[in-house]
């Protein structure tokens, strides 16, 4: 019970969910949830339990979204798309009844102002599964916190990503100089979610989880610029399209 008084306001809940980078599920560009989406989820919980104490809200947050039936959308309010003054924005409103492409969104979390849009466009099947798993873990932890079996701090502990899996793909991005790297690394990062969705279509994969944290390799790593690497991978200088 002692830990339950620690959270003071709903604002803290949002802040306390911010350690989610430590759980590897905070990155819009990689197909997880960005700050806007997290804020909407917290706001929805506050709407559902307007009089709950913050610690209860935190537990209900995990309860609501661990059991949420995706792809049911999360709305904060009814859409009021009757804005005649800016008709050209009407086409942007998220509406699976009229827009075919919106029907394929897996985890719709809709922004509350006109034009209402889905804030989780990049979510794929496996990132949704990873997020849902974390919600369930969080609920499990919260139930133990409530029963006095675990301290609150357990909820915010960073989980070692490498202890989760036995197999990994390492994507090494290399450039000359820092300026080039800024340009190229962000391009590569923005395409990783496409790789994730093509990997998850492979029937051999149960789950594909990209770690949003970026690492620097040890200097001793064979970066692939030596002839050993060339032996492994037959270079195809100009024929890559024939693949």
């Amino acid at each position: 019970m002692s830990d339950l008084g620690l959270l003071k306001s709903p604002c803290h809940i949002y802040k306390s969910l911010h350690p989610t980078p430590d759980h590897g599920i905070y990155s819009n560009v990689l197909g997880f949830l960005g700050g806007v989406s997290w804020a909407i989820l917290v706001a929805r919980t506050c709407q559902l339990y307007p009089n709950a104490a913050p610690a209860t809200l935190l537990e209900k947050f995990f309860l609501v979204f661990a059991t949420w039936e995706w792809p049911h959308p999360v709305f904060l309010k009814d859409s009021d798309s009757q804005r005649a003054d800016i008709p050209f924005l009407l086409d942007l409103v998220w509406d699976p009844r009229n827009r075919m492409s919106d029907r394929y969104h897996l985890m719709p979390i809709i922004t509350p102002a006109f034009p209402e849009q889905n804030s989780t466009f990049n979510v794929t099947k496996s990132t949704r599964q990873v997020i849902t798993n974390e919600f369930r873990e969080g609920l499990d932890t919260m139930i133990r916190v409530r029963n006095g079996q675990a301290p609150f701090s357990q909820l915010f502990e960073e989980i070692n990503f490498f202890s989760r899996y036995k197999h990994f793909l390492a994507l090494l991005c290399a450039t000359e100089g820092v300026e080039d790297h800024l340009v190229f690394a962000s391009l590569v990062e923005s395409k990783i979610r496409h790789l994730i969705s093509s990997l998850e279509r492979n029937s051999c994969m149960n789950l594909v989880h990209v770690n949003p944290r970026q690492y620097k390799p040890l200097p001793s790593v064979n970066i692939g610029t030596s002839h050993e690497y060339a032996e492994h991978c037959c270079p195809l200088p100009n024929n890559s399209q024939q693949m």
């Binding site: 070692n160 197999h167 990994f168 793909l169 390492a170 000359e176 037959c234």
Partner: protein, 168 residues
């Protein structure tokens, strides 16, 4: 006992061997592999496609000025025990280790089953749900234990059996 092997042959042109002042960034993608499907998994096509996408975007008309042939991606498959060769101990050991409770819970294939299980709690949003939810979690833990030793043929059955269950 045969080892699982994941093949990654990437035809990425290593033509620029010596980078001056090289800068590297590493991403890691954790793979939960369905071993019953295949012992040899070839991810070459996916990674080749990824590389082509990046290179095509980078060398497209809009970005052409900023793309150089010294920029490249090199994907490789790393087993858990070989991670030490890639990363510092500090990076590798940060955070507490993950306690794997319910393997079945985690995979994509059972996601529909688990979401239908949870549906009873999701709608009403009432107070009495936590108890049902904890029991669901316990059930899930119990349910996975036999499936660890279950033969291949039973797995799809256990997945589909949850669908007609509301009829009972």
């Amino acid at each position: 006992m045969s080892m699982l092997s994941i093949v990654v042959h990437c035809q990425i042109t290593p033509n620029k061997c010596d980078l001056r002042n090289p800068v590297y960034t590493l991403w890691f993608i954790g793979l939960d592999v369905n071993k019953q499907m295949s012992r040899n998994i070839d991810l070459t096509q996916e990674l080749q496609q990824f590389n082509d996408t990046v290179v095509n975007t980078a060398s497209s008309a809009v970005n052409k000025s900023s793309y150089k042939s010294t920029m490249f991606i090199r994907p490789s498959y790393v087993r858990h025990k070989d991670l030490g060769a890639w990363l510092s101990k500090e990076d590798l050991n940060r955070g507490r280790s993950y306690k794997e409770k319910t393997k079945q819970d985690r995979s994509l294939n059972t996601s529909t089953a688990s979401s239908t299980n949870g549906s009873s709690g999701g709608k009403d949003g009432g107070v009495g749900k936590e108890s049902s939810n904890t029991s669901q979690l316990e059930q899930a833990i119990i349910a996975t234990e036999p499936s660890v030793v279950a033969p291949v043929s039973e797995l799809p059955v256990s997945g589909t059996s949850t669908i007609p269950s509301p009829l009972h």
